[in-house]
């Protein structure tokens, strides 16, 4: 049995691999959204490698937990995690966004093994997750549905419609994460249209709310565990850094959707390798 410390170290290691894959995919494709992909890595790894009940060899397994990447532009992060978890060969990752590839720039559920919903238009994922929870209730299935929302995405009214509905229907099996990296395409969230105070908003919509450092696997695991024991629906506000792990991207709005040139790619790999060495020696 893996101890908590070991789990945390493993998630950190796996997150680094996923970050390298993300950088490589977007560099190879010459297009993609690195900032918001890198900000949510620990959350996705904690879910797919720790919290979620899934069978990579049987993506349609009826008892599986589900994950919806509502901020569908972070597709590279999901693809990297799914490949790492064995849903499809890692070699396929470099086909990201290429013509004929299964790995569309935004997710197509009918093409990607393990992807539960086609997303890319912000604001729609939480509603669909509510529907999934309601179906599980009819089937008396003990499954959970996880959703990752962007912070800019929370400006969409549909998110609040779904928030109200989830509380109304008492969907306790629903766990949403907010990837709160504070940046969106046009600038900082607080300048574009502030969503603060985030926790109060979700509480006033009658959600069970927690706030964590979204790059701290131990905090994420603890929040998931606590959410399991409290009545839902659950919101885990994860404070994250856009572009996390790549020095020149961190907290920089302009890295929302931009490819890396050869020099930037080299630098990104160096940054991630340095982090790997730090991790190995710690």
């Amino acid at each position: 049995m893996e101890t908590l410390v070991e789990r945390v170290r493993r998630i950190r290691r796996q997150s680094l691999t996923v970050r390298r894959d993300i950088v490589e995919m977007i560099h190879a494709a010459g297009s993609g959204h690195p900032g918001g992909s890198l900000s949510c890595v620990e959350i996705l790894v904690a879910l797919y490698f720790d919290a979620m009940r899934i069978r990579p060899e049987d993506p349609q397994w009826a008892e599986r937990d589900r994950f919806i990447l509502s901020k569908g532009h972070a597709a590279p992060a999901l693809y990297a995690v799914l490949a790492e978890r064995g849903f499809f060969p890692r070699g396929e990752l470099t086909s990201f966004s290429a013509a004929g590839s299964r790995l569309q720039k935004h997710i197509d559920m009918h093409q990607v093994p393990g992807a539960e919903l086609s997303t890319g238009s912000l604001g729609q994922g939480l509603s669909v997750a509510v529907g999934m929870c309601l179906a599980d209730r009819i089937d008396s299935r003990d499954r959970r549905v996880f959703v990752l929302l962007g912070d800019g995405e929370s400006q969409e009214g549909q998110v609040w419609e779904a928030a109200m509905a989830a509380a109304h229907f008492g969907t306790g099996s629903l766990v949403a994460f907010l990837d709160h990296n504070q940046c969106q395409v046009d600038g900082r969230v607080k300048d574009v249209c502030d969503i603060a105070p985030v926790e109060e908003k979700w509480r006033s919509f009658r959600w069970d709310v927690r706030r964590v450092d979204g790059h701290d696997p131990a905090a994420i695991l603890a929040a998931l565990k606590a959410a399991r024991e409290a009545p839902g629906p659950h919101m885990i506000v994860a404070d994250t850094v856009k572009g996390r792990g790549v020095s020149f991207m961190e907290d920089r709005v302009e890295w929302h959707a931009r490819p890396l040139n050869a020099e930037q790619y080299r630098q990104a790999v160096l940054d991630l390798e340095a982090e790997e060495r730090r991790l190995a020696s710690s």
């Binding site: 086609s118 238009s121 509603s127 529907g131 179906a135 509905a165 109304h168 249209c193 009658r206």
Partner: protein, 624 residues
């Protein structure tokens, strides 16, 4: 202190007068929404008769305070205040919701003097209020305030929270929102349909200043409005006003069924007495005497025919499906009484989801249910499903090819006197362009029952559109229908009449008129707009040599557009399209609207004569 007392007492008397006028308007038109008009009456009376700086002689005065009734169905209240202030003569109040009138079923700012905005589709008013407040600020006008009255059920709509976020971001001190919290919406109590509490906390969490008051206590209303208007820099302000739906008439108070119902004579007189009025005294306004402009259209085939709203047949079909198939689930957006899903909800509560006034979310939830092997039927009005949730239908339903059935009521002009906001006259064109979408409009009750059943088993998403008003029954209960296969109702070689939905009977009436003139028309019920029966169309058009399309929809993009596409590809012949000619309609009875907007049998027959005249080898002629 004395003066405040006098002001409050005066406003209370005024509010009673306004309520009496509302009561009479709705009684005379036998249509309208009394419950929500009465709950907000004290707030709106206080605004118009004490706070708002407006000029009845100059409704467009740039320095005026702005007022938006976002819960537009309470417009009798708005109209009564404007008439009393002199924006237009009181007599108009006798013609609420009538064709050619200035008082639409839901507010139309281009028809009624004094309205600052057209409303009626819930959830949109606050965004517009934000825009007005920004515009006034940009123009350097510090005095005018923007006042928006929202319904409580309306706060289910996500757009309200988008606007709430934006108003706070822009620090709009000149914006005051009132939430008429009567805790009742169309389908029941808000706390059952979609709980809003803690509502004041929600507004606070969206960075608004909040006042909580009894919205039927004139003193509290006045204090709250004064405070919000005087402390603009701290805004935006939300006044959460606890009210009683139907306040003022005992048998209406807190009764959900009075959301949209007119009193009969006995109820009118009892109610009027409770409101301090005298039924025997001369009324302030009465219906104009003498014949109106419009007459009930003469029918040749369907005079006295049995008529059924196709939404009724949908409700029955749903119940049958619910009994037969456990995978059928139903999602509703607070109008189950209107869409006729109520019986299903009663019989199969575990498979019925009341999602509140939140169409985008409702479609998304349906998509989620569909991913698990369910067959969700989503019901609301055609205009809200197809347009308010259009992108959700496209991206969360059609793109993932999920078998969500959008079964919608109030198609075309059949919502009649509700007016433009509730008439779905662009829906078919909108949904038809979405890849993988099947679009079906049954002509009558029998067709509805058969096609709803077909749709449940049909792969992928299906859009089904029903009527609010009754339409003649054309088919027997045993008639069989296949999605994608049009039905030939009459054979004839002179002209092809292709009709859809509630216009099939209109085409048959036209057929009879033409027959009496010796013209043999072929009549096709093209119940499936997409995939359209191109083989049938091509063959019949080739045989007749000319065609007329007949639809309760804009003539562009709907049936007329689809038929023109097919004929252009396969068999170009002279074509006329009968339907709404790129225009919005208005409030009025369905029958009168069909005449006024040239969608009646006479128009179809004239169009047929026109295309016959344009056939090759014939002299060009336009009989009209």
């Amino acid at each position: 202190m004395e003066s405040r007392k006098r002001t409050v007492a005066g406003l209370e008397r005024k509010a009673a007068l306004i309520r009496r006028d509302i009561w009479r308007m709705i009684f005379l038109s036998q249509s309208g929404h009394p419950g929500g008009s009465f709950s907000a009456a004290d707030i709106v009376t206080a605004l118009y008769f004490h706070f708002l700086r407006v000029d009845p002689k100059n409704p467009g005065w740039p320095l005026r305070d702005r007022f938006i009734l976002s819960k537009g169905h309470a417009c009798p209240l708005w109209y009564a205040c404007l008439a009393e202030l002199g924006f237009f003569p009181l007599e108009h109040l006798a013609c609420l919701r009538e064709i050619d009138g200035i008082l639409q079923g839901h507010p139309d700012m281009r028809k009624t003097p004094g309205l600052d905005m057209s409303t009626g589709s819930l959830g949109q008013g606050l965004s517009i209020g934000v825009g007005m407040a920004l515009g006034l600020r940009a123009a350097g006008l510090e005095e005018p305030r923007v006042h928006v009255v929202l319904g409580d059920g309306e706060c289910d709509e996500g757009q309200v929270w988008e606007a709430a976020m934006a108003a706070a971001k822009f620090r709009l001190g000149n914006l005051i929102a009132f939430i008429d919290f009567n805790d009742l919406q169309l389908d029941g109590h808000c706390h059952d349909v979609m709980p809003l509490e803690p509502l004041a906390d929600k507004w606070r969490a969206f960075n608004w200043r909040v006042l909580e008051i009894d919205g039927n206590d004139m003193g509290q209303v006045c204090d709250a409005v004064s405070s919000a208007r005087e402390n603009g820099s701290g805004g935006p302000w939300a006044i959460v006003a606890r009210t009683v739906k139907g306040r003022g008439v005992s048998f209406m108070e807190n009764r959900c069924e009075w959301h949209g119902k007119a009193p009969d004579r006995d109820e009118y007189e009892r109610g009027l007495r409770e409101l301090g009025g005298d039924p025997d005294a001369d009324p302030r306004f009465s219906r104009p005497s003498g014949p109106g402009r419009w007459r009930t259209a003469q029918r040749l085939l369907f005079a006295g025919a049995r008529e059924v709203p196709t939404r009724d047949a949908y409700g029955e079909a749903l119940v049958e499906l619910g009994r037969e198939r456990v995978d059928v689930v139903v999602l509703e957006a607070d109008i189950s009484k209107s869409t006729r899903t109520q019986e299903f909800s009663r019989l199969f509560p575990d498979r019925f989801y009341q999602c509140g006034i939140a169409e985008a979310d409702t479609v998304g939830i349906a998509a989620g249910l569909a991913t698990t092997g369910r067959i969700p039927f989503v019901s609301t009005y055609s205009v809200f499903a197809s347009m308010r949730a259009c992108e959700q239908i496209r991206t969360s339903v059609a793109y993932p090819r999920l078998p969500v059935k959008l079964a919608v009521s109030h198609g075309g002009l059949t919502p009649g006197n509700d007016g433009v906001t509730h008439q779905g006259t662009e829906d078919l064109g909108v949904v038809r362009t979405i890849p993988g979408m099947t679009v079906v409009v049954p002509a009558d009750a029998a067709a509805t029952k058969a096609l709803v059943r077909e749709a449940a088993s049909y792969p992928g998403p299906v859009y089904l559109r029903f009527t609010r008003d009754p339409v003649p029954v054309l088919y027997g209960p045993e008639e069989e229908f296949r999605i994608g296969r049009g039905k030939v109702l009459r054979e004839g070689g002179d002209v092809l009449l292709v009709a859809i939905g509630d216009m099939v009977w209109v085409a048959l009436e036209a057929w009879e008129r033409l027959r009496r003139e010796g013209v043999a028309a072929c009549v096709v019920d093209m119940h499936t707009l997409k995939p359209i029966d191109a083989d049938l169309l091509g063959a019949k058009a080739a045989n007749a040599g000319c065609a007329v399309t007949v639809e309760d929809h804009q003539v562009q993009c709907g049936l007329g557009g689809a038929v023109a596409e097919v004929l252009g590809d396969r068999c170009p012949v002279p074509l006329a399209r009968v339907g709404l000619a790129d225009t919005f309609a208005e409030s009025g009875t369905y029958d009168f609207l069909l005449q006024k907007y040239r969608m009646d049998p006479m128009t179809v027959a004239a169009a047929a004569r026109d295309v016959i005249g344009r056939k090759e080898g014939r002299p060009h002629g336009n009989p009209r």
